[in-house]
């Protein structure tokens, strides 16, 4: 009963949000640049717009996806290195924090000279996603209970077998949490990466349509970026709920 009520309220909240966006556009309270939602959707009926948006969406999704995968793997590798060689751990933590603090715009020119305009969005996506995964992986690998650790120590388990048989399984729920948070970060990284002169992508479309007063196109690009990160987040968060039951 209670769960049904929550679901009902959530659905009502979503509808209310969409209705508010539509109403704000119809009434023009936020000016010309806030069109009604229905007008944005109707603009997708035009095959040229749809084609343009589709290509941009594919480019951004690819960049975000490869960045996500590469960033997550690299972050996991670094976190595991920290566990296997504890001497390095403090330094690796600081490195992650500093790399995360480097402003995205500062990376633009550097990446364009090193990996080129095409590669920049996926590298920024990898950096953004990698940090979220790294933080989750570090705390996940430390999440095994003290009692379990004592058992492994008493039985004389090596650092490697403790990692494989205790720490990695214990890290799964937190790791999936980190992956869920990393998905929107990867989409953001890919969009921001587009702003440094990538040939195509949602970020390019956002800025060019902003400059050319193509309000519907701008909104459809923005809503597409929001939709892919929402879907990726929801999928990973669902996986996390399933895994939490298995690994709890």
């Amino acid at each position: 009963m209670n769960r049904a009520r929550t679901a009902l309220l959530t659905a009502a909240g979503t509808l209310l949000l969409l209705a508010a966006m539509e109403a704000a556009g119809r009434l023009g309270v936020l000016g010309e640049s806030w069109p009604p939602l229905s007008q944005v959707v109707a603009a997708l009926g035009d095959p040229v717009t749809r084609d343009l948006l589709g290509r941009a969406l594919a480019a951004t999704a690819t960049a975000a996806g490869t960045g996500f995968a590469a960033g997550a793997l690299a972050a996991l590798a670094v976190a595991v290195t920290g566990v296997l060689l504890p001497v390095l751990k403090a330094g690796l933590d600081r490195l992650a924090a500093v790399v995360h603090a480097v402003p995205l715009i500062a990376l633009g020119p550097l990446l364009i000279t090193t990996v080129g305009r095409e590669g920049t969005p996926s590298v920024i996506a990898a950096l953004a996603a990698g940090f979220a995964v790294f933080v989750a992986a570090t705390s996940g690998l430390g999440a095994a209970s003290e009692a379990h650790r004592d058992v492994f120590r008493a039985l004389g388990a090596s650092r490697r077998s403790t990692l494989v048989r205790l720490q990695l399984p214990a890290a799964v729920p937190l790791l999936l949490d980190g992956l869920a948070l990393a998905a929107p970060a990867a989409v953001l990284g890919a969009v921001v990466g587009d702003w440094f002169g990538a040939p195509r992508g949602l970020g390019v479309l956002l800025v060019s349509s902003m400059q050319n007063f193509q309000t519907e196109l701008m909104w459809s690009a923005a809503l597409s970026a929001a939709a892919i990160s929402l879907l990726a987040y929801a999928a990973l968060a669902g996986l996390r709920t399933a895994a939490a039951r298995r690994f709890a």
Binding site: R5, G91, R94, A97, V99, L107, A185, L202
Partner: protein, 260 residues
Amino acid sequence: MNGRAPQHGTRALHATGRLLSRYWTVLALVAAWGAWVRTQHLNQIVAPTPAAVFGDVLDNPGAYAPDLGWTLLNAAVGVALGMLLGLAGALLVWTSPVLSGLMTPMALIMRSVPVVAMIPVIARVVGFGTAAVLTITTVVSFFPVFVLAGSGLRAAPAATRDVFTVLAASGLTRLRLLLLPGAVPALLVALRLTAPTAVLAAMLAEYLLGTHGLGQLFARSVTFMDPARAWGTALVATVVSVLCFVGARAAERQGTARFT
């Protein structure tokens, strides 16, 4: 560090050792950057040496200070507004379970939509210039505060809540004496999350929209082929963002110790 004289030497040695064990990776990064520029024989326009960048920042602090101050002001005002609005929103939702259910999609959106990517949309709607930069820093800090303050308000232990119920405390008293102090740690966590992000979001907006500030200084330096200044801007922004994080974390530790 008020160590007694005989221990002074070993203590300094220890401190250096600790600093090295924590920051060797950062030093290695700078060394790798220097080596990369030297071995690849890169033109200074493509990539300046660390010495050139650090030198430019240390020799011309006056060139960075006004823009840095403006960016920090934008970020600080945005964070302050975002925290106020976020807390107000959380209080509003706290008063009614129906409202709180209706707001669940908002919480999901906060976790999953890349707000910073919406800078072009926000600029188009509120107009280019400082208003857009402030809106972005406000929105970036609003969502975490809203969600975390909301859970902070609900975090009061059941036993203490019962005491207030037994004593027939009014809603306002309960809020003032129990719930708001209980929400302070959550607010401080939100501050730690948003402070560095707000600085970076302000820079990105300045870069894209060409308003004053570090982001614009960066764009200008790139356009006028002054790589030492451009990389210097990045260095200043990195240091400032790390300092914001460190400061907010210190505030969080102090506050958590005081309020729990």
